[in-house]
Symmetry: C2
Subunit: 648 residues, 2 copies
Amino acid sequence: MLLLVWTLLNAVSGLKADDGGMVEELVTEKEAEESHRQDSVNLLTFISLLTLTILTIWLFKHRRVRFLHETGLAMIYGLLVGVILRYGIPATSYHNKTPPSCSLKEGPSSTLLLNVSGKFFEYTLKGEISFREIHNVEQNDMLRKVTFDPEVFFNILLPPIIFHAGYSLKKRHFFRNLGSIITYAFLGTAVSCFVIGNLMYGVVKLMRAVGQLTEKFYYTDCLFFGAIISATDPVTVLAIFNELHADGDLYALLFGESVMNDAVAIVLSSSIMAYQPAGANTHMFDASAFFKSVGIFLGIFSGSFVMGAATGVVTALISCSFTKLHCFPLLETALFFLMSWSTFLLAEACGFTGVVAVLFCGITQAHYTCNNLSEESTKRTKQLFEVLHFLAENFIFSYMGLALFTFQKHIFSPIFIIGAFVAIFIGRALNIYPLSFLLNLGRRDKIRGNFQHMMMFAGLRGAMAFALAIRDTATSARQMMFTTTLLIVFFTVWVFGGGTTPMLSWLHISKTKQESAWLFRLWYTFDHNYLKPILTHSGPPLTSTLPSYCGPLASCLTSPRAYEQLRDPDTDLIHNDADLTFTFGDTAITANGASTSRADATGGLGWSTNGKRSGSTSEEALERELDSREQELLSRGTRLVFPMEDHI
Amino acid sequence: MLLLVWTLLNAVSGLKADDGGMVEELVTEKEAEESHRQDSVNLLTFISLLTLTILTIWLFKHRRVRFLHETGLAMIYGLLVGVILRYGIPATSYHNKTPPSCSLKEGPSSTLLLNVSGKFFEYTLKGEISFREIHNVEQNDMLRKVTFDPEVFFNILLPPIIFHAGYSLKKRHFFRNLGSIITYAFLGTAVSCFVIGNLMYGVVKLMRAVGQLTEKFYYTDCLFFGAIISATDPVTVLAIFNELHADGDLYALLFGESVMNDAVAIVLSSSIMAYQPAGANTHMFDASAFFKSVGIFLGIFSGSFVMGAATGVVTALISCSFTKLHCFPLLETALFFLMSWSTFLLAEACGFTGVVAVLFCGITQAHYTCNNLSEESTKRTKQLFEVLHFLAENFIFSYMGLALFTFQKHIFSPIFIIGAFVAIFIGRALNIYPLSFLLNLGRRDKIRGNFQHMMMFAGLRGAMAFALAIRDTATSARQMMFTTTLLIVFFTVWVFGGGTTPMLSWLHISKTKQESAWLFRLWYTFDHNYLKPILTHSGPPLTSTLPSYCGPLASCLTSPRAYEQLRDPDTDLIHNDADLTFTFGDTAITANGASTSRADATGGLGWSTNGKRSGSTSEEALERELDSREQELLSRGTRLVFPMEDHI
């Protein structure tokens, strides 16, 4: 492995030496070429890291090593390369000159023209840099070059990760625990954010008292830190859950919480950034500014939600109306990919949060569009996003490892770091235990003590916290936060991630039987009777679920294939190439719908009858449906690669 | 469709209106945000275009419309959006000010610091712009924004297209016609380049004579134009060939030529750029500069070739030694993807041409690595690159349509355009007919007249010509070339692409029987006996093909699975889930190898015996192998989406 890294480094130094000869070329062309080569080398470094990670993961999987997840491994490799880049390469720069500087009276604009003896050159703004860094530019060009634009994380790496999370949500357990997940994600993250923010504000005051802090560090900065560090990412824990087939409900709680709180944290942090009180002293409480922030939070969140869900629905409608698209899986897959990506862009273009929109788009796609896709395309899209997610996640984690040594603006403040570790522990505790207590008051199957301890333990921080922290490292407060976030991610992924297996056996967590929640039942009835028939070819025809006076509209909206299913309820089973025999929940419900529609024809009281009937039978039917859906996934012959995505 | 475009435009204008309110924010932040939104809207425009293209293609495929290929369609949609952007939006800019400018005495560097009252801002060089454009910046900001960095084409869009072309080369017909393909690609492209270059130089002289040209236009510029326009891309023709199951050899000749001449053209054009005679008058012939260019051509081409093939071989070795990687198709796919990408980056980092390296990497991967991948991964990688290729190709073609109206520096010169159309016709004719005549002297199965006419007709220009032309549009000569290239692509794709079906029936082209070429036989024997056993698990063990004194080395290099195959030659057949029965060429050869190795043990004259035996039986065996390989592809149950990729 070191050999590979060494080769890379040689390539880098080779480039430096290579460049001396071509003096006749223009400086600009030469520098552009050099910068392009440098970019190639940087990317190559990461790709080699990922390759190494993959080969080592394979070794680990082969030997059933569970204490270190691939993300942890990626971080270790990143760290090693970071150390080599930092200490292995002489600090001299091949640049060898301070960049030229010019002065203007007006504020900076995005474009600047440079006039060199009549020729004009166009420059684009990269950002503000402090006076201290100007010399760093000179000295550590190599280290600086390995740094990516933070927006790369938000626009390229996070979307596939988050989309995949939404797309692979296991609906059964997710919707069963929807209320609890939303409580943990919204209320829990808010609690965690405010607890951590206030505790850190105490820490900051302490630091100022002992003379460890001289620069500005406002209350809003502390709250911002609370927001970014509240996004949990128990990827390691969940992978082990899957391998050990641990409890499905606990999995859903943890996975659902982590997926949703990523969305909450990202919107929360931008709302806090938008919190700008009228006075100069920005750590005072200002009611109007506070409500403005709350309004921004609600606006961005609901806007992103609506946008994501809407694109998902549009895709479902397109794939539903272009039925013969089935015959061209490549077109279907491409369409699916483009529509999912356009959600992100549409949200960003409208000023909402693309990542959040993509999450809800993923959930909607998995729920509706997937039913309309051909079997081939379902597999293709799943695999496509699986690969993208895998590459993006491991890239981020190896970049984290690299950043610890190569990032130029680290501020290691022991008091702040210790304070942060204590604060996230307290924040997590005040999130999980009180909310679990409250939730248990309303839940039929309580969240038991060992589950609560496991959730407490699984508060790992990961890609989202890192991406939020690196987004803005302009002030020293933000730099301190970034360093601390990095250390927290390292510690939690390695220590808590590695300790999952012993913890699970210590807490005696295994599979348990579950019941459905009322929120789920309510949603299921609405979804099954109205949304599915419109957006997909499955489910009962609308003519049987809508009141009789809506007859013409209903028959217009119902897909002809829904009737086909009524006529021949066994067709679906014929398509299955596995030997498993099971009844399709949908078919059962369809039969039920058919009998109701017959009652409808005789009595005209279809709606209320149907409403009650589906209410009374829904519980069994939906259990069957969800069961069969999951078995179906298994029976389709997809090899289970990372059990996390395919089956709980 | 227009509705969608309209929505987009509204979104754009909405953004403009939206922005006025937030005056308290910093100009930089606001501009960065604005630019981010703008980027999102631009990408969204293209994604909507692609979505529309996909839906229309589906309609066309569904109704078996063959006269317009998806790429032609993408161009039409691009054109429409271009017209709307150009004429539908008022030309006022929301920027409303000329960018500030500052003066320096020294030449431009890649980084510039701006000092605004003590605060330093960092700017990166975008490129030189002429004085005329500074005002364009002001006026047509919207149109300008929709323009991508040309390097995007080379670094993001072309690699998957070219890799896929290499990866999906049908080995049977490709290697059978290897000699002819190389002749057309190297000699033919060189002939075409020089013919077109010289003719265009005449046209340029004519233009100067009639006063149509006042700016500089050197002989090297003409040659450069010859190089970029010599890259053929008969994607439309080949798609129809597939659908109609036209002659396999003709397909191989056309596809092979187009794939290889892309590589030749890209290297040729950069060699011509490097041609800088010592004197000031750069259109004089300078022997040393000429030979330097030839040297550069050979250096870059062979370097890229070696690099691509080497990475392919390394991947094959990795996938061969990590045999249990089979159980984790995700890891395998990710590894395959990363290794292929690293070829590109490695070549770029070393100063070679990434696109060319990727082509040869694709060919090597298809030949060796594919044998080591699990069935699941073979399908996955195929589908992954299929989707990437599809998206990238259609993106480029819709961008071409868009560029006709939105590109700011078009120079429409009627004489030049007419001259270019005549020149590419003559260039193509002087490439195909004389070379076919020469090739027919040596070929057993001649390239018949109707094939030659079809090849002449199939000289479509596409993505590569466009990408090479847009790479540098600094001088007016280059701008004229770019405009002309665009028009040539439009014309050839629509007219020649649309006329393929009538042309095929007019020329009476159907399937014919073929024989193997000597070059192919030579290569096959070496490859089958030595390379395949080392790099894959198939083929005879090295112990039977290497001379006996190499015994220890041979048994060390031979994979244990090769012996397993010997013991149980039917295992491969069991894995097949289709009902087709056929014999595996490999198995037959293995049995042959086994008997030879027995002879080896008794006589010790293994090498010469084996050499002769495999020589005498190779023809039948390789026919069988290639046949079964293709049948296998069919029998694996992959639905044939675009027949082009899967089967001739």
